[in-house]
C-alpha cells in the first residue's frame, strides 16, 4: 500500500469525525479536513515515521463566492523520503474566515499564510506576523477574492479627458 493510502488510513483512524471526505482526481489525493483539526492532521502526517510528510510544499486558498463554504485553504504536503504529494483542504465559510495557523508545525507556513491573508482576508490564528506581504501595508480590500474587480485603468481619450482627470490621483504640489 503506498504512502498516500497509508496516510489517509492513519488520518481516518485518528480523526474520524474531522475528515468529511477524501477525493481522488488525476492520480492525486485530497483529504478534506475540518478547519479546527488542520493542526492535528499536519502533526500526524509530519511526525508519524512511516509517513514523514516533512515538507510543506504549498499553502494557498480558493474563493468560491457566491457559493458556501466560500473559501477552501489548500495545503500541499510532500514526503521527501517517500517522494509523494498529499493535499489537505479545509473549507471555510465566508463570515468568520479563520483557521488555526500551522506555523508551529511547519515554520515555512508563515509567509504563505501571510500571502493568503493578504489576498483573501482569511485570518490565521496563531501566526506570529500576520500582516500584508504583497500589497502595500495600507491597502484596503483583498484582491484575489472573486468580488474584487480585476481593475483596469480606463483609457483617457479626448472626449472623457476632464472626467477622468478629476478622478485621477496626482502628486500633491
Amino acid at each position: 500500500m503506498d504512502v498516500v493510502d497509508q496516510a489517509v488510513e492513519a488520518l481516518r483512524a485518528q480523526m474520524r469525525d474531522a475528515i468529511p471526505a477524501v477525493e481522488s482526481f488525476r492520480g492525486e489525493t485530497t483529504v478534506v479536513v475540518r478547519r479546527e483539526a488542520i493542526g492535528q492532521a499536519c502533526r500526524i502526517l509530519r511526525d508519524d515515521p512511516s509517513l514523514s510528510f516533512n515538507l510543506l510544499a504549498a499553502l494557498t486558498a480558493v474563493d468560491y463566492w457566491p457559493e458556501e463554504p466560500r473559501f477552501a485553504v489548500v495545503y500541499e504536503l510532500y514526503s521527501i523520503g517517500h517522494q509523494a504529494f498529499l493535499r489537505l483542504r479545509a473549507p471555510l465559510s465566508g463570515s468568520g474566515a479563520e483557521i488555526p495557523s500551522i506555523e508551529s508545525i511547519f515554520p515555512n507556513a508563515n509567509w504563505h499564510e501571510r500571502e493568503v491573508f493578504d489576498m483573501f482576508g482569511i485570518t490565521f490564528t496563531g501566526n506570529s506576523d500576520l500582516r500584508r506581504i504583497l500589497m502595500p501595508f495600507d491597502w484596503v480590500g483583498h484582491p484575489l477574492r472573486k468580488d474584487y474587480p480585476l481593475g483596469y485603468e480606463e483609457v483617457q481619450f479626448s472626449f472623457n479627458h476632464e472626467e477622468i482627470d478629476r478622478r485621477k490621483p496626482y502628486a500633491r504640489e
Partner: protein, 410 residues
C-alpha cells in the same frame, strides 16, 4: 482612494525587531528596493549592531502584478503567456510547469518528440539561469569579470531560444499539448555547437572562482544551514541540496521523460554559501549531459498532440476540412473547457521547486491558478540565514539563495 502621507511607524514592526532597537542600541537600516545587490526590487529592513545583522525583515511586493488574478480572466492558452513573466530567468520552465498542469487537468497526452524538445530547452534554460546567478553572485562579491563571461555564454543560449520561437526570453514556446511549432533545421547544429563550446567555459569560471582565496573567504562558513532546518524552512532545489538532502524533482517525481536520462544530482556537505555555489556549478555540467542525451535520442514524430479539442489544427488543414475549421474557431473564440477539479504539478526550476496549483470549473478559463514559487519560499528563510553575519555576508547570502523577485512577487 485618498492620498495619505506615506508613513511607516515602528509600531507595526515592533514584534519583529529586538528590544535593543527600540532603545536605540541597534540601528535600523533600510536596504531599499533599489539596490544593486538585492537582485531586484527587494527591500530589507536591517537591524544592525555595528555591522552585524541582528535581524533582517524582508519587504516584498514591489513587483507584484496580479498575475494569478489576471490569469483567471483569460483562457488557458492566453494565460500561458503570463506565466513567462513570473520568473523571468526561467521562462521556459514556467511555461513547462503550467502546461504540465493544464495537460494533467484535461488529461492530454504529449508526443515523445515534444517531450524531448521540452527537456532540451528546459535544461538550456537552467544553464542560462545559473549563468545569470553566477554572474550576479560573483559581481556582488566583486569578481566583476565573471559577469561578462557568463553573459557572453548566455547569448549562445538566447540565440538557440530565438531560433525556436523567435523570442529570446518570453518564448511561450511550450504550449498545452506540445510545442508551438517544430524546431527548425538550425536548432540541432546550434545546440551541438553549444555543447562543444560550453564545458571549457565552465572550467574557465571555476578557474577564476572555485579555489580563489578571496572568493572562498567570503563564502566558506557563511549562512550554514543544516539539512533538517532547510526542510523546515521550505528550502528546495540547490539551496537545499547544498546542505545535503537528496531531493531533486527530476529524479523524485519525474516528468517529461526525465527518468530515461542519466544524470547525477550534486549534493553539498556543509550547507554554506560555498557549497551552494559548487552545487550549481556542477548542475550546469549535468544539464549538459541531459541535453546531449536528449538531442542524441531525439525521436521523430509530431510536435504536438493531435487532439483537436485542445490543440489547434495546422493552418493548411483549414482550407480542406470543415471540422478543422470548426475546431480552430472554437479554440480561438472560446478556448477549451477543463473539468471541475484541481491538480498540483511541481517541477524543478533552477531555483527550487516550482509548483502550479490549477483548479478548473468546467469552463474555458482557469478558476484558480497559484504558483508555488521557490524565491518566495526561500526569502522567508533569509532572516534565519542572515542572523549574526555582516552586511557584506548578507549580500553573499542573498546571492546564494538565487532569488528572482518576479518569482517571489508574481
Amino acid at each position: 482612494m485618498t492620498q495619505k502621507p506615506f508613513e511607516v511607524t515602528l509600531d507595526e514592526l515592533k514584534h519583529l525587531v529586538s528590544e535593543r532597537a527600540l532603545e536605540g542600541e541597534t540601528m535600523l537600516l533600510n536596504m531599499g528596493p533599489q539596490h544593486p545587490s538585492t537582485h531586484g526590487v527587494l527591500r530589507l529592513l536591517l537591524e544592525l549592531d555595528g555591522e552585524r545583522v541582528v535581524n533582517c525583515i524582508p519587504d516584498i511586493g514591489f513587483l507584484h502584478t496580479g498575475i494569478e488574478k489576471n490569469m483567471e480572466a483569460k483562457t488557458y492558452t492566453q494565460a500561458l503567456v503570463m506565466t513567462d513573466r513570473t520568473d523571468y530567468l526561467n521562462t521556459v520552465g514556467n511555461n513547462l510547469v503550467y502546461c504540465l498542469a493544464v495537460e494533467k487537468l484535461v488529461d492530454l497526452d504529449v508526443p515523445l518528440r515534444a517531450q524531448s524538445i521540452r527537456v532540451i530547452l528546459t535544461e538550456l534554460q537552467r544553464i542560462a539561469s545559473h549563468l545569470v546567478w553566477l554572474a550576479t553572485h560573483a559581481l556582488d562579491l566583486a569578481a566583476m569579470s565573471v559577469f561578462l563571461y557568463c553573459f557572453r555564454e548566455r547569448e549562445l543560449i538566447l540565440d538557440i531560444l530565438e531560433i525556436c520561437s523567435g523570442q529570446r526570453m518570453m518564448t511561450s514556446y511550450i504550449r498545452p499539448g506540445g510545442l508551438w511549432r517544430d524546431v527548425p533545421a538550425e536548432f540541432e547544429p546550434a545546440v551541438r555547437q553549444f555543447l562543444r563550446v560550453f564545458p571549457s567555459r565552465i572550467d574557465q569560471y571555476e578557474r577564476l572562482l572555485t579555489k580563489n582565496p578571496l572568493f572562498v573567504d567570503r563564502t566558506r562558513g557563511i549562512a550554514v544551514v543544516s539539512g533538517e532546518d532547510a526542510i523546515r524552512w521550505g528550502l528546495t532545489g540547490p539551496s537545499l541540496r547544498g546542505s545535503g538532502p537528496d531531493f531533486d524533482l527530476r529524479k523524485a517525481n519525474p516528468y517529461c521523460g526525465y527518468e530515461q536520462y542519466d544524470f547525477d544530482v550534486p549534493l553539498g556537505a556543509h550547507g554554506d554559501v560555498y557549497d551552494r555555489y559548487v552545487v550549481r556549478m556542477e548542475e550546469m555540467r549535468q544539464s549538459l549531459r541531459i541535453v546531449q542525451q536528449a538531442l542524441d535520442r531525439l525521436p521523430s514524430g509530431p510536435f504536438r498532440s493531435d487532439n483537436r479539442k485542445f490543440v489547434p489544427p495546422p493552418r493548411s488543414e483549414l482550407a480542406q476540412s470543415m471540422e478543422a475549421l470548426i475546431h480552430h474557431f472554437k479554440l480561438w473564440t472560446e478556448g477549451f473547457p477543463a473539468p471541475k477539479g484541481a491538480v498540483y504539478v511541481a517541477a524543478e526550476s533552477p531555483r527550487g521547486e516550482l509548483g502550479c496549483y490549477l483548479e478548473g470549473d468546467g469552463g474555458p478559463r482557469p478558476y484558480r491558478v497559484h504558483f508555488r514559487t521557490p524565491s518566495f519560499a526561500h526569502l522567508q528563510a533569509l532572516p534565519i540565514l542572515a542572523k549574526g553575519h555582516l552586511v557584506a555576508d548578507l549580500v553573499a547570502i542573498i546571492g546564494s539563495l538565487d532569488i528572482v523577485l518576479g518569482d517571489a512577487d508574481r
